[in-house]
């Protein structure tokens, strides 16, 4: 694969290293002169110095081929957005991956259809939720493009759904239980299975239906 990586900080340079090691072709772009000087001895012709939101810089780095993937991991969210918009809409790059530095900027990425995005804060938040499931519902996976998410629900002795069968629980429209983990074993859900304390339910739903799902399964 041919990948173009904008942003040669810790994230970008280590991505480039890993991808080159596994046989991929990579071009790395960084605009900071001091950073470029550090990267150049190692990456040689595979690193370019310049502002990756400038069209001539992107073109010099080979965006017209076009790359299979453009990865925008600079420290500026507005730059990452513009890099992905240019790659996708001007140069026909099919896959773009963007880093979100400040989670408060996520709405900009979503509004402009920049997906997938990766945010360290959101990932760590997810891990914390998984360790301390305060709200009874753990986010496992968000598929923004598909408008779907997968969550895990822990059934405790106070759960609203306790003792009911899956059929009896009035799940919100657009959501479905896809698996039940009982005693460490995952099972396909049967409509007549009674929910017991200690069960974990995996459900697929439309984003925004979480509160409804929480009401019928966890707390009314």
């Amino acid at each position: 694969m041919y990948l173009l990586i904008a942003g040669g900080g810790k994230v970008g340079s280590n991505l480039a290293r890993g991808l080159i090691r596994t046989g991929h072709e990579v071009t790395l772009i960084d605009q900071r002169p001091s950073r470029f000087d550090q990267l150049e001895p190692e990456f040689e012709h595979q690193v370019h110095r310049g502002d990756a939101t400038e069209l001539f810089v992107l073109e010099r780095a080979g965006i017209k081929r076009p790359p299979d993937v453009v990865v925008a991991v600079t420290g500026d969210d507005e730059d990452n957005i513009v890099i992905c918009q240019l790659a996708r809409d001007l140069y026909g790059v099919e896959t773009t991956i963007a880093r979100v530095n400040d989670p408060r900027n996520q709405p900009y990425f979503d509004l402009l259809g920049i997906s997938p995005t990766v945010s360290a804060t959101a990932s760590i938040m997810g891990l914390i939720e998984h360790e301390v499931p305060e709200h009874g519902l753990i986010h496992l996976l968000e598929l923004r493009k598909e408008n779907l998410e997968i969550v895990e629900i822990l059934v405790d002795k106070n759960a609203a759904c306790l003792g009911k069968s899956i059929r009896e629980v009035a799940l919100p429209e657009g959501s479905r239980v896809i698996a039940i983990v009982r005693n460490g074993k995952a099972e396909a859900p049967e409509a007549n299975m009674q929910l017991e304390p200690g069960d974990s339910l995996f459900a697929i739903l439309e984003p925004g239906k979480e509160d409804e799902l929480r009401r019928v399964l966890v707390r009314p």
């Binding site: 069209l55 500026d76 507005e78 918009q85 900027n105 709405p107 509004l111």
Partner: protein, 138 residues
């Protein structure tokens, strides 16, 4: 009529004063508190300190009821994303965005943004001035 101006530099500040003078309800956002100085001692519009990408601040500045938004921060890419947010999310009728880089200006024009590119205007004016001199000689 209400306008939100994001970026109160030489250009944004002057646009704010001109529109206020013309009777507009003007709300200005800038990261630096001392940018307020550009608006004079008798500024009667709103002034908010903060980053122009901060959506909560944009709401506070009244973007939801704005008839127009002018985006003139010193960052082209910030202007590009803020302008698109104003247009697509807040449905502001008239959004004008300053982009200094002619190449990006050209591309985002094709994406439906109302772009002003002072660099391109300067290039054309300078070239035409020299060509006019050339013409006068012949």
């Amino acid at each position: 009529m209400k306008v939100v101006i994001i970026g109160c530099g030489r250009v944004g500040g002057a646009v704010a004063l001109a529109l206020r003078h013309a009777g507009w309800d003007v709300s200005v956002i800038d990261e630096r508190e001392d940018a307020l100085g550009r608006l004079g001692d008798t500024w009667t519009g709103e002034f908010h300190v903060g980053h122009g990408m901060d959506i909560a601040l944009l709401r506070k500045a009244g973007i939801e009821n704005a008839d127009a938004v002018v985006v003139t921060t010193d960052g082209d890419n910030s202007n590009i994303v803020i302008g698109q947010m104003a247009q697509k999310q807040f449905d502001v009728r008239s959004v004008v965005v300053r982009i200094l880089d002619p190449a990006r200006a050209e591309f985002f024009k094709t994406r439906g943004l109302n772009v002003v590119c002072p660099t391109q205007s300067a290039i054309e004016t300078l070239t035409n001035a020299v060509r006019a001199y050339e013409g006068a000689l012949n």
